[in-house]
């Protein structure tokens, strides 16, 4: 009987478990979970603070998931991997033997060495459920909150706590919000909407020094705050594989089968650096669907099956105060735009292919656009101009539609 060990208990781990169980129903699966919770939807923590979900509803799988999939969960921390003996050592003592190992260890917040950070009493990261529960205790109607980082994490945090605090200021060294996924014009549109909903910004300027309740900005401005949230960025947890002699870069380098350079060791999710088909290079794509799909591919291969995951692309769906934003692919090539007072659509085409898009506001049936990028559909085989205002299956040929809507897909 094969022994599987999974380090981590997030979405990639679930993908891995379900991938293993798709072919091996007998093997022994052990999950090492550093967080003392059953798997939950990590991106839901802001929705929890906002009151859009509850602790009960945040479970990513039903309560009997581990029992039904025959997994043993150990609440402990993996400290090292011995690739010769094929064991994982635990912080609590002992070592687990494995035949196949998946490192799905996720990422951790990156906290720059700010001067005076240790003088701040109420400071939080915003990555885990425990982070959210700790932050929740400090929320009150008079609290002045400073969020460092205007990326996905910082802004979702801002939305989540808006109705529960007095004032929110978000600062970022970048000159725009969501700088990793939006260009200048689109970012300005989203920023205006956030400001209309009561979020204040200091952009192109960030905190450099803290003294108890005062942050001093790079520009010399000062911001008084009661609660500090640090959402500057994240770092992939690569040490387990790095220290076992495996190849790591920003993430743990994996091939299309999610194998690391260490035999018998796989990696998946936010800690892994796999192939990004939108740029043709390896890159960490730290989004939930990617974590599941990588985990699932790893699991199938760990169980002796054949799975490759070669068409990963970055993509995001995120909303703030009722304004939806979707992005996908690479913003590479010629840009065409559809714009009105409700939003913006920008499409990027190159070499006869849709390479990427940014949609603000109108996002109906956007998956049709995403599939054009993912499947590398030649645009001369579809009527793409027709669909720029609203995505439609009308762009495809009649025969193509017959397959989609008249057959099993």
């Amino acid at each position: 009987m094969k022994r599987y060990v999974i380090v981590g208990n997030g979405t990639a781990a679930v993908g891995c478990i379900e991938g293993i169980r798709s072919s091996d129903t007998d093997g022994e699966i052990t999950v090492i979970s550093e967080e003392k919770h059953p798997v939950y939807g990590r991106p839901l923590i802001s929705y929890y603070l906002e009151g859009k979900t509850t602790l009960d509803k945040m479970n990513y799988r039903p309560a009997d998931f581990y029992e039904k999939t025959g997994c043993r969960v150990i609440f402990d921390r993996a400290v090292s991997v011995d690739p010769e003996k094929k064991t994982v050592a635990l912080a609590g003592g002992g070592a687990l033997p494995y035949d196949a190992l998946c490192v799905a260890a996720g990422s951790r917040p990156f906290v720059p060495p700010f001067e005076g950070l240790d003088t701040v009493e109420k400071k939080f990261s915003f990555m885990t459920l425990d982070d959210a529960l700790a932050l929740e205790k400090e929320l009150d109607r008079d609290a002045r909150v400073l969020i460092v980082g205007a990326g996905l994490i910082g802004l979702k945090c801002a939305e989540g706590i808006k109705e529960r605090v007095g004032r929110i200021t978000v600062c970022d060294l970048a000159d725009r919000v969501l700088s990793s996924i939006l260009d200048t014009d689109c970012a300005a549109f989203v920023q205006k909407h956030l400001e209309e909903n009561g979020i204040g910004f200091l952009l192109g300027d960030t905190a450099v020094r803290f003294d108890r309740n005062t942050a001093t900005m790079k520009s010399g401005k000062t911001v008084e705050f009661d609660v500090l949230v640090l959402a500057v960025g994240v770092r992939a947890n690569t040490d387990l594989v790095k220290n076992a002699g495996g190849t790591v870069n920003r993430g743990i380098v994996v091939d299309g089968k999610m194998q690391t350079s260490v035999p018998g060791v796989y990696a998946a999710g936010d800690c892994a650096e796999g192939y990004d088909a939108s740029i043709g290079l390896n890159r960490v794509i730290a989004i939930l669907p990617n974590a599941y799909l990588q985990g699932h591919a790893a699991g199938v291969n760990m169980a002796g099956g054949e799975a490759s995951y070669a068409n990963a692309i970055p993509m995001n769906s995120i909303g703030f105060f009722g304004l939806h934003v979707m992005t996908a692919g690479a913003y590479d090539g010629e840009m065409t735009e559809e714009k009105n007072e409700n939003g913006i659509k920008r499409f990027f085409t190159k070499d006869g292919l849709l390479r990427g898009y940014i949609l603000i506001g109108e996002t109906e049936r956007a998956g049709i656009y995403t599939s054009l990028i993912r499947e590398k559909t030649p645009l001369d085989t579809v009527d793409f101009d027709l669909t720029k205002k609203v995505a439609s299956n009308l762009i495809f040929s009649r025969e193509n539609r017959r397959k989609k809507f008249g057959g099993v897909v």
Partner: protein, 146 residues
């Protein structure tokens, strides 16, 4: 398993499937009371132009991307049917981002809804099919993919 299939040559573009769907999932017994003067949120929609029309609803894919992408674990597949637990959905629209068919849309309260083949409502079989005046939408076995 049985799925809903569409023959666009026979579609009249009448949108009756949308109304029958909205009514079937309203939980009400009177169609006029359920739908009259209201914006409807059906789980099937008609696309097209002045020449071609066709209805689109969930394909219940053999390898559904929405299930693998849902950040809340709200979408699952059981007995071949892709279902959504709307009490878990937070309306992030990630399923809209990934569905290649454009088959999911938010309901009135902002959480997502999708075709569940009328297996969970009082109809027991797809109301869009039963009510299609030209048999452009059918509910049958084609191929053996689950």
């Amino acid at each position: 398993m049985k799925r809903v299939y569409v023959n666009e040559e026979w579609c009249l573009g009448c949108h009756l499937c949308e109304y029958n769907c909205a009514f079937a999932n309203s939980g009400l017994s009177d169609m006029a009371f359920a739908l009259k003067d209201k914006k409807i949120f059906p789980r099937i929609h008609v696309e097209g132009d002045d020449k071609i029309t066709f209805a689109v609803s969930c394909r219940h894919c053999t390898d559904p991307l929405c299930v693998k992408s849902c950040i809340a674990g709200a979408i699952s597949k059981k007995d071949g049917v892709v279902r959504i637990d709307r009490t878990k959905c937070v309306g992030c629209l990630t399923c809209v981002l990934v569905c290649p068919y454009g088959a999911l849309a938010p309901g009135e309260n902002g959480t997502m809804q999708k075709c569940e083949l009328c297996l969970e409502n009082a109809c027991g079989a797809p109301a869009c099919v039963t009510g299609c005046p030209n048999k452009a939408i059918v509910y049958e076995e084609r191929g053996d993919g689950e």
